[in-house]
Structure formats: C-alpha cells, structure tokens
C-alpha cells in the first residue's frame, strides 16, 4: 500500500472541510431568512467531489511577484438556489428546506468524523502492533 502522509485520511479530510463550509453557507441562508432581496446559496457536492478526483490544476508560480493560486477543495464555486416559490421582497430562502439541509449536512459531518476516527484508531493499532 503506497500511502504517503498526505493521503493518510483519504477523502474524509476534504469532506470534513467541505461540510463545515457548507454548514456556514446554510447558516448564512437561515440568518438572512427575513432579509429582503437575499438570494439563498449552496455548494454543489458533485462538482466538489469531481474537482477532488482531478489532479490539482495549479498555475505555476515562476516569479516572486506572482499571485499564489489556491487549489484546495474550497475553490468550489457557490451557486444560487432555484427558488421553490416567489416572494414579494425578492428573498429566496425557504427556512424549512434550509433547516433540513443543515441537519443533513450536520449528520454528514459527523459521518466524516466517524470515518476519520476509525482511520486514526486503525493506524494507531497498526503502529502499536496490536
């Protein structure tokens, strides 16, 4: 098994980061449930996963004054949610469905934590030779 220290935790490390960012976006949506003109936003999990599978397309920095490029999983773009029903004040937040998504996201986050925990205890017992 060719494992480097970077890939020790596999996809779960990135998943945890993605989930926590999504939780932030969903919390923003719900905080602005009564703000006129606010448009609900969300991440697309599929494109995030796809981006993770591809080799990082990072721009080469050949000069000290070049801007550094960020190629982490956080560069997944945010998109706007398609509203289920129109509202007079232009707000597209559906508090109930956002709540449901937030709950699901929290569960997914906990799942990632469990996977990480399992990996860590597995590596620990391998190191100890138990």
């Amino acid at each position: 098994m060719a494992t480097t220290i970077n890939t020790l935790f596999g996809v779960h490390e990135h998943a945890l980061k993605f989930r926590s960012q999504r939780a932030e976006v969903l919390a923003s949506n719900m905080a602005n449930a009564d703000t006129p003109g606010y448009k609900a936003r969300d991440f697309d999990f599929k494109s995030a996963l796809k981006q993770l599978g591809e080799p990082a397309r990072q721009l080469k920095v050949s000069h000290a004054k070049h801007f550094s490029t960020n190629s982490s999983a956080s560069s997944v773009s945010l998109s706007y949610r398609v509203p289920t029903s129109a509202s007079l004040d232009g707000n597209t937040v559906d508090a109930q469905s956002e709540q449901a998504r937030y709950a699901q996201n929290a569960l997914d986050y906990q799942t990632s934590i469990r996977f990480l925990d399992g990996k860590i205890s597995g590596y620990l017992s391998a190191l100890r030779g138990e």
């Binding site: 932030e24 602005n32 945010l78 709540q99 934590i113």
Partner: protein
C-alpha cells in the same frame, strides 16, 4: 475553521431579531396612545434588515453572510383620526389622533421574529456540538 463563523452569523441574526422584537413590543405598547396633533402621534416603527458581507473564504468567494439592522423607519400609513369632543386630548376641532399600528400585523411579526430566533439558536447548538466532536477526533 468555517464552523466558528457560524457563531458570528447566527449571533448577528439573533441580535437583529431581538431588535425586531423590541420594536414590536414598542409598537404594541403604544398602539392606543392618544395625542391631539398629527406631529405628536406615535407611528409604527419597523426595522430594515440587510446582509453583511464577510470575505472569510479567501479573496474571490464571499460565503459568510450575517445580517444587520440597517435602520428603523417609521410607517407612513395614515394615522387613525377620531372625532371625540369629550376626550381631554381632543384638539379645537374635537379630533384625537391614534397611532397607525396594526396590532394583528405586529403579532404576526412577533411570531416570525421569535421563530427565526429559535431557528438560529438551534443552528448555533448544532455547530457547537459538531465542534465538540471535532475536538475529540482520535481520542
């Protein structure tokens, strides 16, 4: 860590909704205040919410969005005018003026504010639990 930002976001929403609840209380308390001129009459006060943009995810993406109260405006709806010559506050024409507070509207406003507040408390609690579990990874 993005989960920490949720405390700011939900906190800003809770403080905004508290302002809204305060205004509802003020409007309801003054719903029956009587005065003898249009200038002195209490007018229904309403908050204006606006999104706060915070660039917490790097230069390009603005993800974290709290909410703030941009200001408080007085309703421009017409005041209630009543002919009551016996009233001690009546003006020389025998009229008294009552505020333009719609009590039913204010009750609905109150319920919406309290539900949103509760919602944000739950969000905060969930984020707190997730962070506590994250701290326990590998233990």
């Amino acid at each position: 860590m993005s989960l920490y930002n949720i405390f700011d976001i939900a906190g800003s929403a809770m403080s905004s909704q508290t302002t809204r609840l305060n205004l509802v209380a003020s409007n309801l308390a003054n719903a029956d205040t009587v005065s003898s001129s249009t200038n002195q009459t209490y007018r229904s006060r309403q908050p204006i919410f606006a999104t706060v943009l915070q660039d917490t995810m790097g230069k390009s993406q603005i993800a974290s969005k709290g909410v703030k109260v941009l200001g408080v405006v007085e309703s421009q709806a017409p005041l209630r005018e009543e002919y009551a010559p016996q009233h001690p506050m009546a003006n020389e024409d025998g009229y008294i003026f009552k505020p333009n507070v719609n009590v039913v509207e204010e009750m609905a406003n109150m319920m919406s504010a309290s539900r949103t507040y509760q919602n944000n408390v739950e969000i905060l609690n969930t984020a707190k639990q997730l962070l506590q579990q994250t701290l326990k990874i590998g233990q």
